[in-house]
Symmetry: D3
Subunit: 283 residues, 6 copies
Amino acid sequence: MLTRSAIDAVVLPALAEDAPWGDVTSETILPAGSGATAVLAAREPGVMSGMAVFTATMLACDPEAQVEELLGDGERFEVGMPLARVTGDARGILRAERVALNLVQRMSGIATETARYVDAVADTSARIADTRKTTPGLRVLERHAVRCGGGSNHRFSLSDAVLAKDNHLAVLTAGGRDLTEALRDARAKLGHTVHFEVEVDRIDQIEPVLAAGVDAILLDNFTIEQLREGVRLVAGRAVVDASGGVSLETVADIAGTGVDVISVGAITHSVRALDLGLDIELD
Amino acid sequence: MLTRSAIDAVVLPALAEDAPWGDVTSETILPAGSGATAVLAAREPGVMSGMAVFTATMLACDPEAQVEELLGDGERFEVGMPLARVTGDARGILRAERVALNLVQRMSGIATETARYVDAVADTSARIADTRKTTPGLRVLERHAVRCGGGSNHRFSLSDAVLAKDNHLAVLTAGGRDLTEALRDARAKLGHTVHFEVEVDRIDQIEPVLAAGVDAILLDNFTIEQLREGVRLVAGRAVVDASGGVSLETVADIAGTGVDVISVGAITHSVRALDLGLDIELD
Amino acid sequence: MLTRSAIDAVVLPALAEDAPWGDVTSETILPAGSGATAVLAAREPGVMSGMAVFTATMLACDPEAQVEELLGDGERFEVGMPLARVTGDARGILRAERVALNLVQRMSGIATETARYVDAVADTSARIADTRKTTPGLRVLERHAVRCGGGSNHRFSLSDAVLAKDNHLAVLTAGGRDLTEALRDARAKLGHTVHFEVEVDRIDQIEPVLAAGVDAILLDNFTIEQLREGVRLVAGRAVVDASGGVSLETVADIAGTGVDVISVGAITHSVRALDLGLDIELD
Amino acid sequence: MLTRSAIDAVVLPALAEDAPWGDVTSETILPAGSGATAVLAAREPGVMSGMAVFTATMLACDPEAQVEELLGDGERFEVGMPLARVTGDARGILRAERVALNLVQRMSGIATETARYVDAVADTSARIADTRKTTPGLRVLERHAVRCGGGSNHRFSLSDAVLAKDNHLAVLTAGGRDLTEALRDARAKLGHTVHFEVEVDRIDQIEPVLAAGVDAILLDNFTIEQLREGVRLVAGRAVVDASGGVSLETVADIAGTGVDVISVGAITHSVRALDLGLDIELD
Amino acid sequence: MLTRSAIDAVVLPALAEDAPWGDVTSETILPAGSGATAVLAAREPGVMSGMAVFTATMLACDPEAQVEELLGDGERFEVGMPLARVTGDARGILRAERVALNLVQRMSGIATETARYVDAVADTSARIADTRKTTPGLRVLERHAVRCGGGSNHRFSLSDAVLAKDNHLAVLTAGGRDLTEALRDARAKLGHTVHFEVEVDRIDQIEPVLAAGVDAILLDNFTIEQLREGVRLVAGRAVVDASGGVSLETVADIAGTGVDVISVGAITHSVRALDLGLDIELD
Amino acid sequence: MLTRSAIDAVVLPALAEDAPWGDVTSETILPAGSGATAVLAAREPGVMSGMAVFTATMLACDPEAQVEELLGDGERFEVGMPLARVTGDARGILRAERVALNLVQRMSGIATETARYVDAVADTSARIADTRKTTPGLRVLERHAVRCGGGSNHRFSLSDAVLAKDNHLAVLTAGGRDLTEALRDARAKLGHTVHFEVEVDRIDQIEPVLAAGVDAILLDNFTIEQLREGVRLVAGRAVVDASGGVSLETVADIAGTGVDVISVGAITHSVRALDLGLDIELD
């Protein structure tokens, strides 16, 4: 699902950043042309994401390298499992190593954390969705990682869907304008393919929002009790999205209220790099 | 210390990523030309980093905006403190909001975590240094954030300093070559401005490495006891750098062994976004 | 609604394309520093689009130029009306002239043609929508031009909405799979913000498609009679979109069938540049 | 004649524009790895242009695709003729489809319209030339399309040749300066490889312009009678170029006056996309 | 004559190359915000070229800097003369210094050397022209420098003019084809604005080349005697261009033969940087 | 040691600069698909540098070309020796020719001149080092060329090492501050991998600079006598670097004083292109 151009758009500048005028260590110490084999190994269990990124980084540094992918994105692995094996030019592999690991560790870290949330709500119909709280420059990759972990993607950007928040509603109803009517007018300006979602902070906002015919309603910072009440009020007329105060401790309870989607910023904005290593054996 | 061009190289593509063809919500709901004031506020205590990034992001979306920076990079703040105030076009501020927060939360998260490590070793002479385990595309910004937290920067890239690791040493001494002599020869190939650091895994590697006249020696995954012994052996002949198994729990003990530098990957590879918010008041 | 960065992404390369190493005519003939005033004038009636593009092109060639915009995007004008006036460096204005006209004539041509379609369906509730048949590199600008003409935007790209066509349906139901179930399964893989539209070629496909719960159904190459039947069958359960065989001659009849959206490729893929000129008066 | 780099400079950004974060339809519906064969087919007769662009777009989306080009650029085709055949990854072909068609339809549209003008003047010695009224970003491709249709290219840009127009002449002769002398002085400042052409609006400007030794003279908006008189006056001392009021109705008469070149903006600024389709057969 | 965009296209990447992650010296030693005044001074006599490049480099590093240009491009200066004065941020000026000097020293070196050639032929009607032997990436700037020195520009690139050399002629006449006819046919394929120049190595090639109606003929590696004979044979029917063996010692004699243009590779491919310095006075 | 991406970053834009819209000569004269063989030949003796650049330029213009490299970078060659042989598409080779030669002639010119300096000091322990006086955009290539000639690289940029000059020292000691202490404080702010070098103009500055513990001291514009005295004073406590007044005439004497490094601007800022030619034999 990740295209080569999306990967290259991240990997090539990252390699330039990490070696703007070569790798002085390898060039000094490794004879030109010496070979190596490296194994990408799991030092903790997790969910794979970024295998194509790993491969592309290696090939960018050594176009002749042979990369064997031992696992697919979205698959789970245990400690010690080999995930990929690359054979090629030693200098190339060592130049690629850090960039490849930085990306794959982050992506697999996101997939693994997402999977924890997804597992926690497995016996409900709620989906775990990401947010726009991604790392600048890496959104396509991080969104893919969320999908690898079983999560669902929220709108990609400000361009592809409406999410009207408190500030927007304040403007819309300035001067005492009726919320329902104002939302209906706003929607009429949009193309018919644009998803229309509105965030509310209070139970009493739900009815007027729904009356305008929205696609989804985001209940922000609602208590479990309020969420349950909200779901009851919406009664299937729109997708119910919940956000705020979501953690591994709270997510099962939130899902239990019957919401359709739970948006979690932490799966992308606060990622712990998964512990993967590259074991290199020089010829 | 962050130049405008370094900031723009991150901010402008990030804004394009977050709004490739405009902000359909604001364009639908906010009247063109309506104004707003926003306050960047601390929702938890921390160390500031990225104030110029915040300002640049706002100005990129509204060149006429007035941004008041209430705190400088490297300064500490408490919960609830206003950090910056911006007045300008409402659509511009809302378009900038997410990108600005994504970057400043990450940078301040790094600075704050770095400061915790720095505080933990405050009564020693050890420095806390970063690594190349940074987010691809953001190294200049993340390195700056480490400095804001009182940390020190390790080599920036593969190009500007040598760090010879186990794999390199294995090649260098292949065929039974003497390590000291091999390192001396390697160094002779380098320009005189290139820092030369060698990583060792065992106590008995220290003497032959030092004999070659290195600038620094990296003791990797040494126990506290071994570090102490290593420092004693080096005896000031090179900078002593320690890595592996460094955490907020262990760092003080490591620093207590007398090492000069402690390299910590976690301050950049596993960052929790600091909780900062943008409180917007529309006109 | 067009951001400065979207405009610059087109205008700056266009200027480089049109003058890769300067303007040999002006540099030879016009004394450095000589001034000029130019008026953008309508040589035929139409609907304005691209005023900000005109201004940005002039300013790119002469940052000190004074541009007076006499009309806003979306406004109609008559033959002979002055649309904008620019005063500045003569060399700058002449260098900008062709690029500015090439863009504004195209955009206003699109807006004007779109408005003809919109006018033709004015007494119905149908919207005129564009397609992905835009000029490579100019989609953001051409979509804006469609809106200036009163049209509505269809999905922007392959990324932001699903439009499943005959080929997709063929794959989906390969091996005798039930269409409704297959579509329902496909939709379940998508984020909740993604618009889901399915194209059908025959009346009997409508019911199984609707049963899957789509957002919109595209009736492709239906006769007027079939469209009317289609609208009756859909009965408000999804947005009805019509495409194929749409021209200024047929559009009113198509709209009369009660469809919600009419997608027209011709308003972007076969544009006649509107006749606008730049009347220059050198100092 | 189109280099791969010129093609890629258009195709790669166009693909990114059309699928910034993937093709959600194909990724949802088509199994990874499923194959397809597609035929580029003519739905109306025309002149081919852009075959290499078609191929490059397909290969950019599927580097393993096999593309068979059944016709060369500049060749004519009839309704229903297959022009190219591509076999490869179904997702890749569908992702490439719209961009490939948008470009090839436009280029073949230009070639076909150009050929109509060329045919109309076939029994004269006049050439049909293009202008700088091309689509921003596509000049190299559109100029190639003009050549495919049998047309000739005018100057590519402001940089490579002089074309002094009324405004330039006004400046040159300001203060009562002699036109001939002024032009001669201007030309002396130019490198000897720069083509020097001057536009005139009146018969009486011809002699003083020619006296300065220009390479070509552009008779702008002359009547047929005036053109004939102009050609007679020039008498072979310079290339005679005609512009203004050129259409398929008038071009033969203009050519009949004996002019050498007829510059036509419409062949690039007001193109109707030629009706080509991609017939896809999925495996 | 140098546009800001042409200058920025060189200066901005050059600054990034020279300080990819800041200026560690200035950042360590100079207090943020300290000011400085710097004078660009001539340490040898020469001809100015690149003043706008100097200014742009300074402003790129300090947008608030005040730059006073004391001399214009093309003007001559003596040892010790101040050429420009800049007042601004000390860190910015020091960061800009090396890039500014590298460019201005090279450009003024070219202008100064060109002027020596121009002076050497001052009492003839011959022009000194440059070639395509320029520094990759700097052609626009180096061509400007040649003009500053009083030289003339040859074709800019392979795209804007024909220069058929021995290899081309060999192909053209392969199979015993008549040279005149072959050249005439080749020219007929070109647009009327394209300069057509043919290189010959022997006297007896001149007549057949001229018979084809070329714009210029390049006499390559002719002796003085042969040049004189060549000029006599051409007799004004085409521009006569001479190349090969041109040096400051030989150029006057070559010019004395009556050729129109003398093409000199050395003025761009073997430049000595002119000795200019930046005298900095910190506040 | 030159990576493909570093080469492409120079070669691809250079080719675009040299043929923005094709090669009108070859396209007019050479039949599409005609082949050629070309030999890169030495017209004067020298040291090879840029063989990979030559190959990359040829392959960029003809991906199918066969390039045989007959010599490696750093090897010496005599007049008339063939250095490389390329067989491929005639148009491709001719399009690549000028860019390939411009780069290889410059690089080999630098390598050859550097080797002259290196030879001149061969019986001393001094190294010849380059400076930041390189051509903007070509630093990575020119630094490589210096190494090919046996030279050593000084700091690459402002980012990777400190070189404090007179202006910096002036600021540092402003207000009567002690130089040693000030330098020690400055160094303490730097990461431990950053080389710290200080330039001095006078003998009496040496002791206080060394007392601060610098890595290297640069003796600028010292006489031979002063250099000898300086070396004696430093006594191995830091690397001794000499600059100013270095030429092929003086370098041996400078090296004879016992300095470790001699920095020479002229090997990069004033390069004479080495006389290499491409002898083309068309099929």
